[in-house]
């Protein structure tokens, strides 16, 4: 950890164009100890008034400082957005969820082994240095959306559920406030894996908004290497509404498989209006996986994602 200055913001304006923002610190501090993150100034925003969950245009507005624990436990979330509550509770540990915040969770960095090891080349950490994951250990890595420059996955569970829920991110900057749909918030690595989101330098996430509860049933299924406290190898956030025995609409987002919470509108289109049969689900999986590419250690994610998607769809379309 390199020496840094530390200040506290008490107004949102003080946190704009300020130092590196720290809230829960559950990810940033670890990375600072490893020398991966080397901010020379930290701005602590924990005193900002961003800790409330309020009803907003039929949906919810979740302050950026709402802890993962509080969000998961919110009665409205549990009742109307259970996919989000389940995703949150499947992540990290109780202690970490008490500290981790909504805004921080969106911005957590990849668990790629090589990103965390400053001795390894990494285009995300050190642009242009190369990608050590290519040809290395890739169990955690992406099968969708990667590039030759980076195949790291986004580690969040919460963001996967939010992606399926059509959430948006409220951002404050020097030029005022703006709202970015989560579907556009995360960038694919391309040749600049160091640029991960739409967030401009100096901007601050102030809230996440959820639209009104979607019709249908919701679930979050996370597949991982141990029963708890492990990042997703594959996860599926699914919301499916049925009508007359057919799928009326489906929203599906996937974690552990791509550099961002992955959502593929064509998969959902392929499901809409269909009977929930094995053929329907396989056809959807075919579309989802049409460009999937394994890198050795993560090849298994391709069949695993197919199997998990089928199981989630079976679950969501079966009465009982």
């Amino acid at each position: 950890m390199t020496p840094f200055d530390y200040d506290r913001a008490t107004e949102v304006t003080q946190a704009i164009d300020a130092g590196r923002i720290i809230a829960g610190g559950t990810n940033l501090l670890d990375l600072m100890k490893l020398g991966v993150e080397t901010p020379d100034r930290l701005t602590d925003i924990n005193r900002l008034d961003l800790k409330t969950i309020e009803e907003h245009q039929g949906g919810l507005r979740i302050g950026a400082l709402v802890s993962n624990s509080d969000l998961a436990a919110d009665a409205r979330v549990r009742r109307d957005w259970p996919v989000l509550s389940r995703a949150l509770l499947s992540g990290a540990s109780g202690q970490l969820r008490n500290m981790a915040t909504t805004g921080g969770n969106l911005l957590q960095r990849t668990r790629c082994y090589y990103f965390q090891d400053v001795s390894s080349p990494c285009n995300k950490r050190d642009p242009g240095s190369g990608c050590a994951a290519m040809g290395g250990a890739t169990r955690l890595h992406a099968i969708l959306g990667g590039s030759e420059h980076c195949i790291a996955t986004h580690p969040s569970d919460m963001a996967v559920a939010m992606q399926a829920l059509d959430a948006s991110v409220e951002i404050e900057g020097r030029d005022g406030a703006r709202t970015v749909p989560l579907s556009r918030f995360y960038l694919l690595p391309g040749d600049r894996p160091d640029i991960e989101t739409e967030l401009e330098p100096g901007e601050l996430i102030t809230a996440v908004t959820l639209p009104p509860p979607p019709p249908g049933r919701q679930t979050y299924r996370k597949v991982r290497d141990r029963a708890s406290y492990a990042f997703a190898l594959v996860s599926v956030a699914g919301i499916v509404a049925m009508e007359d025995g057919r799928i009326a609409q489906a929203a599906l987002a996937f974690g552990g498989v791509a550099p961002r919470p992955w959502r593929d509108p064509e998969v959902e289109t392929a499901l809409a209006g269909r009977e929930p049969t094995a053929e329907t689900f396989d056809a959807a999986a075919d579309i989802l996986l049409r460009d999937a590419e394994g890198h050795g250690g993560n090849d298994f994610k391709i069949p695993l994602l197919r199997r998990t998607l089928r199981a989630v769809l079976t679950d969501l379309t079966t009465e009982g």
Binding site: M1, T2, P3, K33, L34, G35, R111, Y113, D117, V118, S119, G135, G136, A137, R139, L140, V223, R224, D225, R226, A227, S228, Y229, A230, F231, L233, V234, F300, P303, L304, R307, T308, R310, A311
Partner: protein
């Protein structure tokens, strides 16, 4: 006075059974427990002397020869005192009981992550930042490959009897399979740490170490000082599992830095450094050949193991340690093959040898049971030999049959051999599996001093360590039992090289060896009391601070007018070779495997164990619980991943090196066969139980996965991808 015993003969006196206090073998709470849970038990890095400096290692980012070390930026940082690059820095920790320095020198880098310099600063944070700022230039040098390639087969580690090939040819049923287990890390809760402080030419080192009498010589040899000028303190150790057997880089570096700066220096490893710069268990490849007749009786056994280590390390994972004697079979070939690699040093990790050797062998036995159509428990029963079939010597005691029977009954083992994959609950496929547990038993030389005071208190002193195992508890109980004192009247002092040298903790010898030394010392005290009372020691009853003989009950204070002190000294002798000594057990597991994802959840697990006299039913049970939990990790999740290009440890934290978490560990039940007394082992008739609980535990789970799904995983751990690959689409 010294009571010295060499174990040349069986000791069938069962003297402890004659005692009256009634505290030994009970589930007594640890006397150190309240200190530990309230943070008052000082661990190595917690007693920081005034003015202590902090040292943080610079790691080698690649293999080769250090050409230059640019520490200008580090030295320029405010608070940095020095950068140590002394030639005495260790390449890697000493192996257990090495008693001398391991390979030294920070210029030659043999594995990625090797500590090559120590940055010393006034605060830990400064030292850490400065260590990261050091630029290192490393040139290519001739090194071993990063992955095992060429293996040596040392003559003395190969053995053969009969004709295994013929046995395989003539057998009704055979198994011939290759298996692999990955490298493991001990990952103790307390990272390795040391604080060094010099007083003239005398050094005091607080360390997190398991075997102090060896560590003192190792550290003195590493530094080039007289061991007499060195005192090591390790009163509390937060887990070792073998990774703290030998003196390690942090202790040597702290001592050198303290010498150089003239101030105390503390060095605490980061979790990442624990993974890459302490000890790993070698990965293994194992070939098991089994030849059996139609009833499953073994006629031949082949067990070959391929392991690895750094150059110039004599240690190699003793995979086949229990293969010579566990099962019958007149034709037997055992092979051991070692490759030199440029990877983190391989050393002892909990139950070296059997942990992976029995596990693989017991998977092969399960394959044999299926091939022969015999219940796996019955197959084991049929193959218990009457004598050690390799050495043709008797067993000191063989409790495998009892453990199998008792374990099967306690678990409710289903011996109907249901077809794999036949039991389902929704998405989950249910199966049961079992395995035998075997671990060699050893005795180590140990000394302990016991002082009985007229006020009815006693003091036990030895440099034995308590690495979380319960040494404080059992030594308290032994002394309390022998001297007839309530346990709270006994004080046990451990972990100080100024005290008589015990066995140290390792190889499951600590309790029986250091315990025997305490037992003998107490015997000496009893003899003095008996003498004072004019009776034979065997006619003396001690209970609740009273000495009872000839129908007289006398307070101890009336028997002795000053402290009575005795030294106990136990040494292994002829019984080590005259009989085959081992501990025994059986594991049973029920798993649910998800038919969609291949995820395995252990639903319940049971172990029945026999280890001679059990000294404390609670700490013994805890050891077995811990071992079986390790087994769950070995079966399902734990794998130290090495990068294929430079051999570095890829998963260097507890988020990615997956030890089991609470949610992975179901209800585990442990049954101890309390009645066993093994007269050949030591005067307490006790055996080591520290490692028994892991020796084969993983096999019960892997075998249960097969029963549940029909998928036979031969490359551990049985992660979901390997299971899923064998499941229906």
């Amino acid at each position: 006075m010294t009571i010295h015993t060499r174990m040349d003969d069986a000791d069938r006196r069962n003297r402890l059974d004659d005692m009256a206090q009634g505290v030994l073998s009970t589930a007594m709470d640890r006397p150190d427990g309240p200190l530990k849970v309230s943070g008052r038990a000082p661990y190595a890095h917690e007693v920081q002397p005034e003015g202590m400096l902090h040292g943080v290692f610079v790691r080698a980012p690649r293999i080769g020869r250090v050409v230059s070390l640019d520490d200008a930026a580090a030295r320029a940082m405010d608070g940095v005192e020095t950068v140590v690059t002394d030639d005495r820095l260790l390449r890697n920790p000493a192996q257990g009981t090495a008693n001398e320095a391991p390979v030294q020198g920070p210029r030659e880098v043999f594995y990625v992550g090797q500590p090559i310099a120590l940055v010393v600063a006034r605060t830990f944070e400064t030292a850490r930042a400065a260590a990261l700022s050091v630029g290192v230039e490393i040139a290519d040098a001739e090194r071993a490959p990063v992955a095992p390639q060429d293996y040596d087969s040392p003559d003395k580690k190969q053995s053969s009897q009969g004709d295994l090939d013929a046995a395989m040819r003539d057998a009704a049923v055979t198994v011939d399979r290759m298996y692999t287990t990955p490298a493991h890390s001990s990952a103790p809760m307390e990272p390795h740490a040391a604080i060094a402080e010099w007083d003239g030419d005398r050094l005091t080192l607080r360390g997190s170490l398991q075997m102090l009498k060896f560590n003192r010589n190792e550290l003195a040899d590493s530094l080039g000082i007289d061991p007499k000028n060195l005192r090591i303190l390790s009163p509390y150790v937060g887990g070792g599992f073998g990774s703290k057997l030998g003196v390690a880089p942090e202790a040597v570096a702290a001592a050198i830095a303290a010498q150089e700066t003239g101030r105390p220096v503390g060095v605490a490893l980061s979790r990442q450094q624990v993974f890459e710069a302490t000890m790993r268990r070698s990965e293994t490849r194992q070939r098991v050949r089994l030849a059996a007749d139609a009833e499953g009786r073994l006629t031949g056994i082949g067990h070959d193991a391929w392991v690895s280590n750094l150059p110039d390390e004599s240690y190699s994972e003793p995979v086949t340690q229990a293969t010579p004697f566990t099962y019958r079979g007149e034709n037997r070939v055992i092979g051991h093959h070692v490759a030199r690699v440029s990877r983190t040093c391989a050393g002892s990790v909990r139950a070296p040898g059997e942990a992976v050797g029995i596990t693989v062998f017991e998977i092969a036995m399960d394959e044999l049971a299926h091939a022969a159509g015999i219940d796996p428990v019955e197959l084991r029963r049929r193959n218990i030999p009457d004598r050690d079939p390799t050495k043709d010597i008797p067993f000191s005691s063989n409790m495998l049959a009892q453990a199998l029977d008792a374990g099967a009954a306690a678990f409710g083992w289903d011996d109907s051999r249901p077809a794999p994959g036949s039991r389902r609950e929704g998405e989950w496929m249910i199966g049961q599996g079992m395995a035998s547990a075997v671990r060699v038993n050893n005795l180590a030389e140990a000394k302990a001093r016991v002082t009985l005071n007229p006020d009815g208190t006693a003091l036990v002193e030895t440099d034995m360590t308590d690495i979380g195992t319960g040494s404080y508890a059992i030594l308290t109980q032994i002394a309390a039992e022998m001297l007839g004192l309530p346990p709270e009247r006994v004080e046990v002092r451990l972990g100080d090289t100024d005290l008589p040298p015990g066995s140290g903790s390792g190889g499951s010898v600590g309790a029986s060896s250091s315990g025997s030394a305490v037992f003998l010392a107490c015997q000496g005290v009893r003899e003095r009391l008996a003498e004072a009372m004019g009776v034979a020691e065997t006619d003396l009853t001690l209970k609740d601070g009273q000495a009872i003989a000839d129908n007289r009950s006398t307070p101890l204070g009336d028997v002795i007018d000053g402290p009575v002190e005795a030294l106990g000294h136990i040494e292994p002798g002829k019984t080590s070779k005259a009989v085959r000594q081992a501990t025994w057990g059986a594991y049973f597991a029920e798993v649910a495997v998800n038919s969609v994802t291949g995820e395995t959840r252990v639903r319940r697990m049971h172990g029945t164990f026999a280890a001679g006299r059990i000294l404390n039913a609670k700490t013994a049970r805890s050891q077995c619980l811990g071992g079986m939990t390790f087994g769950i990790g070995m079966a399902l999740t734990e794998e130290l991943m090495h990068d294929a290009r430079d051999g570095h440890v890829v998963n260097r934290d507890l988020a990615e090196y997956h030890i089991p978490v609470n949610a992975d560990v179901p209800q585990i039940t442990v049954e101890l066969l309390m009645e066993e007394r093994d007269p050949w082992t030591n005067p307490m008739q006790a055996k080591g139980i520290g490692e028994l609980g892991i020796c084969g535990a993983a096999a019960a789970i892997v075998n249960a996965i097969h029963q549940a799904t029909g998928v036979r995983v031969r490359d551990l751990p049985a992660t979901l991808d390997k299971v899923m690959a064998g499941l229906e689409d």
